[in-house]
Amino acid sequence: MSALAARRRTLPGFGLTMGLTLSWLSIIILIPLAGLFLKSLELSPEQFWNILSSRRTLNALRVSFGLAFAAASVNLVMGSIIVWALVRYRFPGRRIFDAIVDVPFALPTAVAGVALTALFAEKGWLGAPLAALGIKVAFTPVGIFVAMIFIGIPFVVRTVQPVLQDLDPEIEEAAGSLGASRWQTIIRVILPSLAPALLTGLALAFARAVGEYGSVIFIAGNLPNVSEIAPLLIVIRLSEFRYADATAIAVVMLVVSFVIIFAVNRLQRWARSRVPAR
């Protein structure tokens, strides 16, 4: 190992490229993020607490985190079904559906926002039939939920898909030939192998939905305490020049994202130690 490391060092440019990488990373990412935390330290704990415990902030955080979790859960279930259909079955248009899973990644969020609003508004293609059933989507919290589902689809599908593709078929065959029913095999054999990937997908979809702004604000209605998401409240506080409020909310959201990154890293380590590569 040390011999390998020594040999690798024979290539030139390590000091230069590493120095440039760290400098550029610091200028663009680390210093700006540190500035945010530094700014929040200017607040006394009491001020910090007062901002966060105000009714409007609490409701915005509740809307963002609650609906993001609900949407990520829907993505977990529907994502699993989509992955199963794409990996295990052959049907007309399969490759096209496989490709369009990435649309929420690629479509600018503002475009997704206006498109979903047009679709689910009371006179929209889907909004009209839903309104006839008495369900209002656009300009209600349901609209936020729908937008968050849209934005989260690819995370679950693209995390779970390669794992299901690489799953050793012999394990399933063994379970089947030992007399397990198909359902038992799926629940007891396949699902545990996919668990780390499923949880990673859930966490990534949740993290994205919590911070999402563009695709949500058009359809949300943005009524304070009801359908106002936390990122929008940050923007509103900024436009009111209430920087302290914006900073406090942002710090809470950043800390949650860091916890999620940490959890995802752990999950991936767990996945590597559990599922032997084929």
Binding site: L4, R8, T10, L11, P12, G13, F14, T17, M18, L20, T21, W24, L25, I28, I29, P32, L33, G35, L36, K39, I81, W84, A85, F97, A99, V101, D102, V103, A106, L107, P108, T109, A110, V111, V114, A115, A118, L119, G124, F150, I153, P169, E173, V210, G211, Y213, G214, P231, V235, L238, F241, Y243, T247, A250, M253, L254, S257, I260, I261, N265
Partner: protein, 301 residues
């Protein structure tokens, strides 16, 4: 003789393999009704949540006919937004391309402690809310920010101007090129570069003549995704732009303004350009992924 033996052995073997495969498939599939329900659920879900939103963009953009569509795109405000979007994308993609190549060289070609942590730091912008990505620059360069007074004294405009928009976009698109290149370059190892160096090539010659040709599809892949995100970024840019009409509005920001003014045809016309960008990006991405897979297979043999 050896050939014949090989043939006579391999034929029954492949036959047996086919039988075994058939038996396997029975153990690894579900009843027909279940299969149909699962496929139907997947197709309906993707149609409602992905296909219809895409279709509705074009339907709305063309709802008053093709002439109204092109008239909306020819508005000076629309042209200014398109121009600004292209400028900002060029700056941030350029910066991130250079950074991505430099970072990937350091990370993929050398061993050092803390590598995983460094990659996590590069990935950070993926998990920061776009609004916060803009906010951090307001806190640095805004009137109440750390450098606010200094910038005002020296008459330098960063916020509510092109530099701020480019910075926020660079922040948001920071990981794309590096993340496309690191795994690719790790997989390719260092043997070819070492050979070049030992034959007397300089570091830069080695990079441009040996490394770059090997990773060209990966570079293109990273640039493609980086560019799509740079042109489409909304939240971060919205916070730093100041929404000065005709000056600091990128295409996504103009979509919002026109939409809020009930100019739906114009809003969806701009949106349709961005949707086309997304579709072209996806098609190119699919093609590039095929190239990258082939490259890897060739490397395996």
């Amino acid at each position: 003789m050896t050939m014949q033996i090989a043939d006579s052995v391999s034929l029954p073997a492949s036959d047996a393999k086919a039988h075994a495969a058939a038996a396997r498939d029975n153990l690894r599939t579900e009843p027909r009704a279940v299969r149909i329900v699962i496929i139907a659920l997947a197709v309906i879900f993707l149609t409602v949540f992905v296909v219809l939103p895409l279709v509705v963009v074009f339907a709305q953009a063309l709802s008053r006919g093709i002439l109204a569509y092109f008239a909306a795109l020819a508005e000076p405000e629309a042209l200014a937004a398109i121009k600004l979007t292209l400028i900002v994308a060029a700056i941030s993609v350029g910066l991130n391309l250079v950074f991505g190549l430099v970072a990937a060289w350091a990370i993929a070609k050398f061993d050092f402690p803390g590598k995983t942590f460094l990659i996590t730091l590069i990935d950070l912008p993926f998990s920061v809310s776009p609004v916060i990505s803009g906010l951090v620059f307001v806190l640095l360069f805004g009137a109440q920010g750390y450098f606010g007074t200094w910038l005002r004294d020296h008459d330098i405009q960063i916020l509510f101007a092109v530099p701020g928009i480019a910075l926020a976009t660079t922040f948001v698109t920071f990981p794309f090129v590096a993340r496309a290149l690191i795994p690719l370059m790790q997989e390719q190892g260092t043997q070819e570069e070492e050979a070049a160096i030992s034959l007397g090539a300089s570091g830069l010659q080695t990079f441009f003549r040996v490394t770059l040709p090997n990773i060209k599809w990966g570079v293109l892949y990273g640039v493609l995704l980086c560019n799509a995100r740079a042109m489409g970024e909304f939240g971060a840019v919205s916070v730093v732009s100041g929404h000065i009409r005709g000056e600091t509005n990128t295409m996504p920001l103009l979509v919002e303004i026109l939409y809020d003014e009930y100019q739906f045809v114009a809003a969806f016309a701009i949106a349709s350009l961005l949707a086309m960008l997304a579709l072209i990006t996806l098609i190119a991405k699919t093609v590039l992924e095929r190239h990258l897979d082939e490259g890897q297979d060739a490397g395996d043999h």
